[in-house]
Symmetry: C2
């Protein structure tokens, strides 16, 4: 493995000059820096980060914090984590940063892992891939006063080192409502499972806001997460009481496909209701009819989170950084 001495020799400078050049010291001329850079490339030299860490007390590594997994499947079923991670690593590659993961089966284990990254790995920069109420891991990172970016929305106050990156789910809720209205549907139903989830809450609020501002009647229905028979009976009676419903907004693609199945069991035809949903996952193409859905660009969320963290301009931004979304039109929303 080449050393800094090899680089210095090839560049024709002293090792200390080579080191200053590598650290972009203002005392060193651009021409010398260029010679040192070329020598580094030619020798395929990487600075020894471990040695640097002892001095800098900070590694060139970002720590990604995954949510606690309650069971082996709970994470694999979220189709976004991998894409967000890819977006993060894409930016880190460009900036010569490495990426480490922290995960755990419990809050305690997750915190222990974050602690290991901070104390043993000298990692001082973190990205939370999730956001939840009263999260002990988040509180721990807040107390450590290290810069962090949360992919998701804020549940409460955060310190000045923290920043949030997310889609504007309220706006997206308004947009899908307007999309259906533009296609001449007026009697809309919003389907959701859990309003404790910030994402669902924001989306339904956007829907309610849009309907209210136009003086239209807003309807919503909660699907049970577990009991399919109960859900089917309740939805049947709900639709009988509200025969005017023409279109449905589903809080995510899986809810939409579940609803399609229930409607089929209830002997409704696919053409009886238009349907739009959120997340634009692979199931949109497997649905019948294929689902119009809101693309939320998880790869770009990851990219933006990493860029903000590495730019170190976190301070003073107390609002979430919103990334755009886009409605992808498919067969489930023809003009009425």
């Amino acid at each position: 493995m080449p050393t800094i001495k090899d680089v210095a020799r090839l560049a024709g400078v002293s090792p200390s000059t080579a080191s200053r050049a590598m650290h972009d010291n203002k005392m060193i001329s651009e021409a010398t820096k260029e010679r040192v850079r070329k020598a580094m490339e030619e020798l395929d030299y990487s600075p020894n980060y471990s040695a640097q860490n002892l001095v800098k007390r900070e590694s060139n590594t970002i720590g990604i914090i995954l949510p606690v997994r309650e069971n082996q499947d709970s994470l694999g079923n979220n189709p976004f984590f991998m894409q967000i991670i890819q977006g993060i690593t894409s930016v880190c590659t460009e900036k010569d940063y490495m990426v480490s993961l922290a995960s755990g089966r419990s809050d305690e284990e997750l915190i222990k892992n974050i602690q290991t990254l901070i104390r043993s790995g000298n990692i001082r920069k973190f990205i939370f891939l999730y956001s939840k109420k009263d999260d002990p891991a988040f509180s721990f990172v807040q107390k450590e006063q290290v810069p962090c970016v949360v992919v998701g929305q804020a549940y409460g106050p955060a310190n000045q080192e923290t920043m949030f990156v997310d889609n504007d789910n309220f706006q997206a809720g308004q947009d899908v409502t307007q999309f259906l209205l533009d296609r001449h549907y007026q009697n809309l139903l919003f389907l959701y499972t859990d309003l404790d989830e910030m994402v669902e809450m924001e989306r339904i609020k956007g829907y309610l806001d849009r309907m209210q501002s136009l003086g239209l009647k807003a309807l919503s229905f909660q699907l049970s997460r577990v009991d399919e028979a109960k859900t089917m009976a309740e939805l049947q009676s709900f639709l009988q009481q509200n025969p005017q419903i023409e279109a449905m907004i589903c809080c995510d693609d899986v809810i939409a496909v579940r609803t399609q199945r229930i409607l089929e069991w209830l002997q409704y035809k696919p053409s009886d209701f238009a349907m739009i949903s959120f997340n634009n996952t692979m199931v949109t193409e497997l649905a019948k009819p294929s689902l119009t859905s809101v693309e939320i660009f998880p790869f770009q969320l990851g990219e933006k989170a990493a860029s903000l963290l590495l730019e170190r301009n976190l301070k003073g931004l107390d609002k979430p950084y919103f990334l755009p979304h886009e409605i992808i039109e498919r067969g489930s929303t023809p003009y009425l």
Copy 2:
């Protein structure tokens, strides 16, 4: 942050004794080791890995190598990576290892990232989350002579530091065939997309082997990955020429759901063919009827890969380490 001197003071020993105790030196009594361990716990002391790395030239970190992503979606659509990663981190947490990621948009970028992990991060242990023919990243790691475990099957010879962990897809192909035969289906069709994929090749070989050994006629059909209209026309004519077909084996769940859709367009009833598939992803529940499928336990694959890598007993194992699979029965395979 506490130092080794603080630990030594609390334990009532010299710093060098504390250090020897931490490294489990035989010169140090169990009683002293226990005192040092307690002092470490009380002070919440972690050894400074960076400092250790300079001596050991090896970090307590495993590098996970992701496949090159051709586009932003290509990885997010594989439902297994996240679960395999979770299995890996689960084992690493127990053994106080950290986990870093290497990924890239091209072979060159991926290799550059692996190089950074090796040279700057002192990482000497890797897990490939994929396996493909003539892979430059794999060749690079082979040349570096670092221990690695591949989740997948071997495409060619590998050095003594390398080991493979996988499901026995040949056996799984035999098992799904027998499962259908046990339910009294005899005229089976195997559907696949790409036999260059080792996984698909092994699965169909298992099917062909089982059919041949029983003297039954084996049929197979290749679905185009892209052209749905062409696939539909070809499958229609294939089924007209082979009206005896009673059941279908699909090489994965997505192929199965695609096939269900095509069959519906072709005016077949869901009860016309039994269907079984592989991977047991979330789409099995969204299919109509819900799909019987082979669970491949990706979390356990990750756990096993990490255990083997950390046990350092890689040498001498020239066969892949096979993990069990399990057929999960759902509505698509009633008794005939």
